[in-house]
């Protein structure tokens, strides 16, 4: 248990280490694309560039949905479906630029595109310096707001070497009023090393009691809550900011049951409001205390 919390903390820390990840994809997606279409170009290329900026402006945007395993090693430990957001950031004459955010990973891609009957067919290669990099091939129908395609891993020894997806156009906006749906009560919380099958820890109605993005929590409000409820309540703050969870326990909840959740970033620390930061600190103290002392001799 403690290791899970620690791992999550570590994941947060390491995820925050990447400078690219601090960008807000809606306001400034170009910051992470290698080619800036808005930068002034030499005169001889001017014509080309005006053409380029006019290439499919309607296609720019973000598309979210399930990223489902299609080719996989049945005996391996993997996650069948994660929530993914694919951002189409820019185009030039020959190349499309974008990035994806899934399972705590933000990866850019780029590659050729062509017009097909349903829209644009884009082949986006990830840089290739990450173990989990691969190639996206999808058709983008911006009129219907649909993005549909496949992803193939570069490394064919991974547990999942191919995934499919049908994503819908969706614009991310932080909204503190979003509440957790009742559906989060359906499953036991994920434990990597569950001691006994069926001995899962479930959430309770408490998890809906407060929205720590909206109201200041008091000690009295949180001290009698179960650790699991506190943990999900706290992580809902990160989810509202579009944080992409590396940690499976949280991913399983937010990816599966929280419709409004959309992963857009791997570092949201700078986006947290002072109220949220205060609540996070309070909840974390009680979570850590429960984690260490709830079932042992002591207080």
């Amino acid at each position: 248990m403690l290791t899970l919390v620690l791992l999550f903390g570590l994941a947060l820390l390491t995820a925050c280490g990447s400078p690219a990840s601090s960008s807000d994809p809606n306001s400034d997606a170009s910051a992470i694309t290698p080619f800036d279409t808005l930068a002034p170009l030499p005169p001889e290329r001017k014509k080309e560039s005006t053409a380029a900026t006019r290439v499919h402006p309607e296609a720019i945007g973000s598309y979210a949905g399930a990223f489902e395993a299609a080719e996989y090693d049945e005996n391996a430990d993997f996650v069948y479906a994660n929530k993914i957001t694919i951002f189409i950031d820019s185009f030039n004459v020959t190349t499309a630029f974008g990035h994806s955010v899934v399972a705590g990973n933000l990866r850019s891609f780029s590659g050729p595109y062509k017009e097909v009957k349903e829209g644009l067919e884009i082949t986006g290669k990830e840089p290739g310096d990450d173990r989990y990099d691969g190639v996206f091939t999808f058709v983008l129908n911006s009129e219907a707001g649909l993005l549909k395609g496949t992803w193939k891993a570069n490394n064919n020894k991974l547990p999942v070497t191919g995934r499919t997806y049908e994503l819908k156009y969706r614009r991310f906006a932080y909204n503190p009023n979003l509440d957790l749906p009742e559906d989060v009560l359906w499953d036991a919380l994920y434990e990597k090393h569950a001691e006994y099958a069926g001995e899962g820890e479930f959430l309770t109605q408490d998890v809906f009691k407060y929205n720590p993005s909206k109201e200041a929590l008091t000690r009295q409000q949180v001290e009698n809550m179960y650790k699991g409820d506190l943990e999900v309540m706290r992580n809902a703050i990160y989810a509202r900011h579009g944080y992409s969870f590396k940690n499976r326990k949280m991913r399983f909840i937010f990816d599966r049951y929280v419709e409004w959740y959309m992963p857009v970033s791997t570092d949201i620390r700078g986006d947290l409001t002072p109220l949220e930061k205060k609540n996070i600190d309070l909840m974390k103290r009680y979570e850590e205390h429960a984690d260490r002392y709830y079932d042992v001799f002591g207080r």
Binding site: E223, Y226, K227, A290, Y293, Y294, F297
Partner: protein, 225 residues
């Protein structure tokens, strides 16, 4: 030579321990070790560790901080009394052990651990329910220990024994309330503050009832001899 008598007395008393008493003493030793492990978290002085991580709103109060550390460091000194004070053999063969150990216990309980327990009890987690439980516990502990002290000085051994049985039963609440917590959590998975409120009472009221039963049983046995 008193030192020599002290050592041989202890040795003879140890040899007279039967299996039941031995098991009890071992169990007690194990719980004392657990209490020491808890105390050790606060060595060296650190006011943002363990239990104090969820008491930060009181860390600004100097008297709370001081009372907390007095309680943690002093209370542990009361536990060894459990090994020495209830052995008739030791009392008979090396009464000095009983007196020295008893004085340390009584002094620490009455002047350090008891009053500091009262002060931190005022700010106990779990609201008025547990605050009342801990404050009452502190008052009763100091009262019973004082009574036991005075009756010893007066030479009223029977009353001294009874008051000290009560006093030590209350001191044991440090162990029993934590043991109850482990048991209740394992059996019912209660909410953290619910279990805290329950053990705040269960931890010493039951001890006191058992103490009264022990006292009355002895009176009854003696009357029927």
């Amino acid at each position: 030579m008193p030192e020599q008598r002290l050592g041989t007395g202890l040795f003879t008393a140890l040899r007279q321990i039967n299996y039941g008493e031995g098991a009890l003493l071992l169990a007690y030793a194990w719980f004392c070790w657990l209490m020491w492990e808890i105390t050790r978290q606060y060595i060296p002085w650190n006011d943002d560790v363990a239990f104090l991580r969820i008491k930060q709103e009181y860390m600004g109060l100097a008297y709370y901080r001081q009372a907390f550390f007095v309680h943690v460091y002093a209370s542990i000194i009361c536990l060894p009394a459990g090994f020495t004070q209830f052995s008739p053999g030791l009392l008979k063969r090396a009464p000095r052990w009983h007196r020295v150990s008893g004085r340390i216990y009584a002094f620490v309980a009455v002047f350090l651990a008891g009053p500091s327990g009262f002060v931190i009890g005022l700010h106990a987690n779990g609201g008025p329910t547990s605050q009342l439980a801990f404050c009452l516990l502190a008052i009763l502990w100091v009262y019973c220990t004082l009574k036991g002290w005075h009756t010893a000085r007066k030479g009223d051994i029977k009353a001294h024994r009874n008051w000290m049985i009560r006093s030590f039963a209350l001191a044991l609440s440090a162990i029993t309330l934590r043991a109850w917590k482990v048991g209740l959590v394992a059996a019912f998975h209660p909410r953290p503050m619910d279990v805290y409120r329950i053990v705040a009472w269960l931890g010493w009221v039951l001890n006191l009832l058992i103490a009264e039963w022990i006292i009355r049983r002895r009176v009854f046995i003696n009357a029927n001899k």
